[in-house]
Symmetry: D2
Subunit: 150 residues, 4 copies
């Protein structure tokens, strides 16, 4: 399984964009969003990417017995998000194989357009017992079509 870190973290078309308003709960005493909470935003981004671009609800995927646990995450923090900022979460496919998917993420400030954070998450496909398994055929071919269309 060769799904480890390599290459730049860039967005590829199609990119899914959604918005998120920072609340107090997301921030820390440094006056900025806590560094671990961007992984929440990455989750929102990839879930909505799957729903809108791949027509797959992760909840339904789970109901079929397919889990996509995160095996690696990487975040580059360039500038902080602050309380009440409206953020744009941009997500795209970063790579894939029969047994894994990689998502790329960027988070921007809607007001200034500034890039705040970028990073990736890599997911293995497993069954409920945690054993590696192949992505369902329909999802795999959907990812392939999307990757070619970009």
């Amino acid at each position: 399984m060769k799904i480890r870190y390599s290459g730049p973290v860039e967005l590829h078309e199609p990119v899914h964009r959604c918005q998120y308003r920072v609340i107090y709960a997301d921030t820390d005493t440094g006056g900025v969003v806590y560094y671990g909470n961007y992984l929440r935003l990455f989750e929102i981004g990839r879930t909505e990417f799957m729903r809108s671009r791949l027509r797959v609800s992760y909840r339904e995927l789970e109901a079929q017995g397919i889990i996509l646990p995160v095996v690696e995450s990487y975040v580059r923090y360039k500038a902080p998000a602050r309380y009440d900022d409206l953020l744009e979460i941009c997500s795209s496919l970063g790579g894939y194989s029969r047994i894994s998917i990689r998502f790329h993420h960027e988070i921007k400030c809607c007001r200034s357009g500034r890039l705040l954070v970028r990073g990736f998450t890599i997911h293995a496909a497993t069954d409920r017992s945690g054993s590696l398994t192949r992505l369902p055929g329909g999802l795999y071919s959907g990812i392939g079509r999307l990757a070619e269309s970009g």
Copy 2:
């Protein structure tokens, strides 16, 4: 099921005490612990109360098919906890019935001894399907002995 709010939130002996160090993740941009995060500390308190005073691991209780979901929580915030503060979580039994347990909690600053937060959580006993059920006999009698010993 009459397990709703009533009466003062006071600790009764025996009280279980454990310590917690505030991290950045717990705080918010106001420079204090986020108000929702005290419910994490209440969870730590009641879990360790059960482990040390009732000789029950909540994990084992679950393995037996007994769940104790929270049905009510109340928190009174008197003074803020701040980053790197060492806190004392004080937990005691606040009441019980065949199908419910109530815990009382206080959180103090170890350095100053000041009371920061107090509150309660009320838990119903259910089976895995979510139906109300009786507390296991051993746990119920253990709670009874503890309540009388205080």
Copy 3:
């Protein structure tokens, strides 16, 4: 300062409604939203209530030196929210004085319409040093007009 718990937790018109999609981060190993995380949803609800109904951004209020720390919170958990559920957060004014505001909150499942959670938060008005202070005149009269209009 008489701002302690009393009376039923009911919504009063005008009610502000907004939606929230449950993510993995919100849930726990019990398969439901963690009990402390509903206080995040209450925060979203009251912030958007203030923005849309009182024309006040809490960020701007803070910039003027007015803080509204939570002094009490209460939650009644009636049924669990689960992963990927679309929730409706309903928020209304529950009471007010020269130095405090009380918000009432209900959280419903959008699909089933079922009431999942209700509760309140009470906020004191303080200056940056934490001393009790009066609500700004404009905000106070705005709250009064809203309370009468309901």
Copy 4:
């Protein structure tokens, strides 16, 4: 500033070890610790590493006007931690310069000894305005002595 990802994520002596008990709040509906919450554990690890090995409290550092915001984080998830697991957080210095520190982290299951997670965080030194600044002389030389002693 060359402080980007490179090389293996391995622990170097001296290693600081501390324990953490997983609570419900840390877990998700998948029955395991949520992937973003390991960054909380990394924070605990590096804070206690600094306190015990470098004799520096991060709170005091901040009081002197020195902030160490995270500029990069990486996590490799090898096996999941579960509710009530007692974890060992192992932290060591992974690199340093006049203006940055890199920490390496491993998280193990105390019961089985199994390695669950490894990763790093890279921190820039800034002043309160966010401008890059040099680490205080005492801290920098302390880090140097530690790095040579390993």
